[in-house]
Structures are given as structure tokens and as C-alpha cells.
């Protein structure tokens, strides 16, 4: 038992061991989750929290029902789509400008000196803190939400890409130049590909950040969207609706993160192994 942690040599029937390991992982994980759900249900049924919070037996069917019965003006699918559309607008804007600015500041010291102070000024302000001023500037419509997502995600992507662009191996650039590659060729075949891992790091953290920011923006001011589902439930003391919203947020967040990771695995195949 003592040395089980990382056994260097796998003795005796590796296939069977692996299968046993998998089954063990599955059962233990299921036990962990079921214990959590059971504790939640027990807490909801028997403790004083039950007055506020319904148990999973009530919430999980409600989650599925929310796709057929509308909450407010839309069904759950509509709310999810509305939130995703906001993220898509702000995030794609931020990705394009962030990658461009990151590469420019990473490759040119003059541009870096010119732009970096502003990035460093905006960066420490959380996206959520932009919400009040954006409501004042753009009103409560879609533009303000897109702006908040843009401004909070843009700096994060730019900083990450900057790191990649400024640390391209100069020997590679020199070799390409020596072999007669033009400036644009050097850029597209050497500089850009070596930034790809950092671009993805930026895109990944940026995506989960913009998902968080859109929720905050919707919770503070909106008429629909997943964040609205939560606040509306909260305002009408409908905790089941709040929990349904949280489940939806979690699932979408998981899907978004995994989609980007799959894309990264395709585009940066050399990073593995």
C-alpha cells in the first residue's frame, strides 16, 4: 500500500490491471458525486436550508423541463443562445484585435513602448468593473455587453500573444532569412506558427473569462440570457430556477473549454508527447 503511488514497473497482466483501474476510477467517482447529491438532498429535506433550497430530485427534472417550458420570454435553449451570441460577438472581436496587438507589440519595440502602458492600465481592472460605465456609455442594450466582454478578454489575449511573439527563437528567423525568405514569408511560416501555443493559452483563458463576464453583465442588467435566468429566479425567490441556471452555466462552460482544447490539439499537434 505504501508505495502504490507511482509504481515504476507494471507487473503481471497490464491489460487486466488497466481495466481494473478504469472500473475503480469510475465507481469511486460515481460514489463521490452520488454522496454529494445525497448530502444535498438530505440537507434540502431535513435541515433548515430546505426552506430556501430544493434538492436534486426537484431541480434535475426542472432543468430538463426548462428546455420545453419557457422561463420569461424564452426557453432555456433560447437563453443559452442569447448568452452565447453575446460572447461570440465580444470574444471574436477581442480575439482578432488581441492577436494583432499582441503580435505587433511582441515584434516591434517601438509599438510595444507605445501600446503597452495602455494595456497595463486596462488589464488590472476586472471586466465586471466596466459594467456601470458601459451602461452609461452604451445603454443597457447589446452593445454595452459586447463592449464589456471585448475589453476584459482583449487584454488577456494580447498579453499572452505578446509573450509568444517576443520569444520566437531568433535563430529560426535568422535561418529563414538566410535562406532567402521574404519578410512576409518569415512572418507567416516562422513567427506566426511559433506563437500558436500562446495564442491558444490566451484564447482559452479569454473564453472562460468572457463566459464569466457575460453572466455578470446579464445578472446586473438584462432581459434574457442564462445570467438573467439566475437573477430572475433570485428576485422571485425561485431557487429551483437559480439552480437550473447554474447547471446550464456549468454545462456550457464545460463544452466551451473542451471545444477549444480539441481545436488546440488539432492545431498544435507537436506540443504533445
Amino acid at each position: 500500500m505504501k508505495h502504490k503511488g507511482n509504481r515504476p514497473v507494471n507487473r503481471a497482466r497490464p491489460g487486466r490491471d488497466a481495466r481494473r483501474e478504469k472500473a475503480l476510477n469510475f465507481f469511486c467517482g460515481a460514489a463521490g458525486i452520488l454522496t454529494f447529491l445525497a448530502l444535498w438532498q438530505l440537507g434540502a429535506t431535513y435541515s433548515r436550508f430546505g426552506r430556501f433550497i430544493p434538492g436534486p430530485i426537484e431541480v434535475i427534472p426542472k432543468f430538463f423541463l426548462s428546455f420545453t417550458q419557457p422561463i420569461g420570454v424564452k426557453r432555456m435553449g433560447g437563453h443559452i443562445l442569447a448568452s452565447l451570441a453575446r460572447v461570440a460577438a465580444g470574444y471574436s472581436l477581442a480575439a482578432v484585435t488581441g492577436i494583432a496587438v499582441g503580435i505587433v507589440t511582441g515584434r516591434s519595440r517601438v509599438m510595444n513602448a507605445l501600446l503597452n502602458p495602455f494595456i497595463e492600465l486596462i488589464r488590472p481592472i476586472p471586466g465586471i468593473a466596466w459594467i456601470p460605465i458601459s451602461i452609461l456609455w452604451f445603454g443597457t442594450g447589446e452593445t454595452g455587453k459586447v463592449f464589456i466582454i471585448f475589453i476584459s478578454t482583449f487584454t488577456m489575449i494580447a498579453v499572452s500573444v505578446h509573450q509568444g511573439a517576443s520569444s520566437v527563437d531568433p535563430a529560426l528567423i535568422g535561418a529563414a532569412k538566410m535562406l532567402g525568405a521574404s519578410r512576409s514569408r518569415v512572418f507567416f511560416t516562422v513567427v506566426l506558427p511559433s506563437c500558436v501555443p500562446q495564442i491558444f493559452t490566451g484564447l482559452q483563458t479569454g473564453l472562460s473569462l468572457s463566459w464569466m463576464v457575460v453572466l455578470a453583465a446579464e445578472m446586473i442588467r438584462s432581459e434574457f440570457g442564462v445570467g438573467w435566468v439566475i437573477t430572475a429566479g433570485n428576485n422571485s425567490y425561485n431557487m429551483a430556477q437559480v439552480l437550473v441556471g447554474i447547471i446550464a452555466i456549468g454545462i456550457i462552460g464545460l463544452v466551451l473549454a473542451n471545444a477549444l482544447r480539441a481545436l488546440e490539439r488539432r492545431l498544435c499537434a507537436w506540443k504533445e508527447g
Binding site: 505504501k2 508505495h3 503511488g5 507511482n6 515504476p8 475503480l24 476510477n25 469511486c28 467517482g29 460514489a31 463521490g32 458525486i33 454529494f36 430556501f52 433550497i53 519595440r109 517601438v110 513602448a113 507605445l114 503597452n116 502602458p117 495602455f118 497595463e120 492600465l121 486596462i122 488590472p124 481592472i125 476586472p126 471586466g127 465586471i128 468593473a129 466596466w130 459594467i131 456601470p132 460605465i133 451602461i135 452609461l136 456609455w137 472562460s208 464569466m212 453572466l215 455578470a216 445578472m219 446586473i220 439566475i230 437573477t231 429566479g233 433570485n234 431557487m239 437559480v242 439552480l243 441556471g245 447554474i246 452555466i249 456549468g250 454545462i251 456550457i252 462552460g253 464545460l254 473549454a257
Partner: protein, 256 residues
């Protein structure tokens, strides 16, 4: 040396140029509505005024700042005290990993902001509710980075330790933890910025004090100058936090 001076000069000129342009557009040429975007002079005046004036949001700037700092530090340190050991345990012990990781993977994708209404119902809008939200937002990045830090420890180093007769505890404290320090610091840094952002959100949704409350109240009264003061202060405090952590990391993670 001379070259870096030139680039610093460009940076300073860029910032000065921007502030001058801002001043020109608002206070001199009046191209922008100053109710929506007040000029730099107005913002500075609002900052001085807010240092002593409690109106319109019931607190001076230092009072709001102190209230926010107290909450964030309480929740953050609680989150570290629970999250780091939990992440280390998950990375170190197979059984712990088996039971808790699926549960953890299930709860992880929900951003801390999403839990705010639930926590407010359970704990009320007072101090404890917000501390709990900050605690929760600190917990996830701490667990995540401590876990991956322990997991990435070079197994050869552990084998060497074991060959020389190190006990399991010695392996953990002398080999695994020191080599996981950079990862632990990444966790601390990420956790601090998420918890700061989450606190601002929580204060905007339900509070009677704090910087988030201040900018939200001034939004309702359309005082753009006070909003900008609050935002800039939030940014400055966030920057100071990451500066302190950076210095600490340099001290503790020497030679790594």
C-alpha cells in the same frame, strides 16, 4: 541603456498624449458630453472630493476600499488554507483523486459569479455571504494548480528519494512540494485576480459598502466621474496585489 531610455520616453509620451487628447476633447473643445465622459481634471477633482465626502453612496473612498480589502483578504486566505491542501491531496493520493476529481470536474466550470445568488440566500448579504463567495472563487484555481503542480513532479526525483529511504511524508515535503512551488504560485495569482473580480460583482449585486457598491450606486445616479475614480482604484489595487505576489514569488521560488 540609452536605448531603453528611448523606449521609456515613447511610453511616457504616449500616456501624456492620451491624457492631453482626453482633456482636449472634453474640457477644451467640448466634443464629448462630459456627463458621460468627464475630463481628466474632473476625475481628479472627484477623487479628491471622494476622499472625505460620504455622499452620494454613504462612504468615503478609504472606507469603501477598506471594506472591500477586508472581505477579499478574509475569503482569499480561507480559500488558500482549504484549497491548497485539497489540491495537493488530490495530486498526491490516488484514492483522494478517485473520489473527488469527478465531483470537482463537475463543479469547476461554473464561474464563481454564478453562485452569488445562492450564497446570498444561504448566508445573507452581510459579511459572511461575501466571504464565502470569495472563498469559493479562490478554491477552484488553488485546487487546480496545486493538483497539476504535484502531478507534474518528475517521477525520477521521487524514485531517487525512495531509493535513499525517504518515507512517503518526506517524499512529499522534501521533493514534491518544493518542485510544485511555481505551480502553487500560479494558483495564488489566478485566485487573487478572480477573487477580486468576483468581489466587485458581489458588491454590485448586493452590498451597502465597498468599491463595487460605490460604482454601481453612482451608475444609478449617473455620476460618471465617481465611477471612473472607483474603476481606476479597483485597477490600481489589483495591480498592487499582483506586484506583491510577484515579489513574493521571486523570494520563495529562487533558482527555479
Amino acid at each position: 541603456m540609452k536605448k531603453t531610455l528611448k523606449f521609456h520616453l515613447i511610453s511616457i509620451l504616449a500616456v501624456l498624449g492620451f491624457v492631453f487628447f482626453w482633456y482636449l476633447m472634453t474640457d477644451v473643445l467640448h466634443r464629448v458630453n462630459t456627463l458621460i465622459l468627464p475630463g481628466p481634471v474632473d476625475v481628479f477633482r472627484a477623487f479628491l472630493n471622494k476622499m472625505t465626502n460620504t455622499r452620494p453612496d454613504g462612504g468615503t473612498l478609504p472606507e469603501h476600499t477598506l471594506s472591500s480589502l477586508k472581505l477579499v483578504l478574509a475569503g482569499y486566505s480561507l480559500g488558500i488554507l482549504v484549497g491548497m491542501p485539497l489540491g495537493i491531496a488530490m495530486g498526491w493520493s490516488k484514492w483522494f483523486d478517485r473520489f473527488f476529481r469527478p465531483l470537482f470536474d463537475m463543479l469547476r466550470p461554473v464561474p464563481p459569479v454564478g453562485w452569488i445568488p445562492l450564497v446570498l440566500i444561504l448566508f445573507g448579504i452581510g459579511m459572511s455571504g461575501k466571504v464565502f463567495i470569495i472563498f469559493f472563487s479562490t478554491l477552484m484555481p488553488c485546487i487546480l494548480n496545486a493538483y497539476s503542480g504535484i502531478r507534474q513532479v518528475n517521477p525520477t526525483h521521487l524514485w531517487v528519494a525512495r531509493t535513499f529511504g525517504a518515507s512517503r511524508a518526506q517524499q512529499l515535503f522534501r521533493v514534491a512540494l518544493p518542485s510544485a512551488i511555481p505551480s502553487l504560485f500560479t494558483g495564488l495569482r489566478v485566485a487573487l485576480s478572480t477573487s477580486w473580480a468576483t468581489l466587485v460583482a458581489a458588491e454590485m449585486l448586493a452590498a451597502q459598502k465597498g468599491l463595487g457598491y460605490m460604482i454601481q450606486t453612482n451608475r444609478m445616479l449617473a455620476n460618471a466621474d465617481n465611477i471612473l475614480v472607483g474603476m481606476l482604484l479597483i485597477g490600481v489595487i489589483g495591480a498592487i496585489f499582483s506586484l506583491i505576489l510577484g515579489l513574493l514569488e521571486k523570494q520563495l521560488a529562487k533558482g527555479r
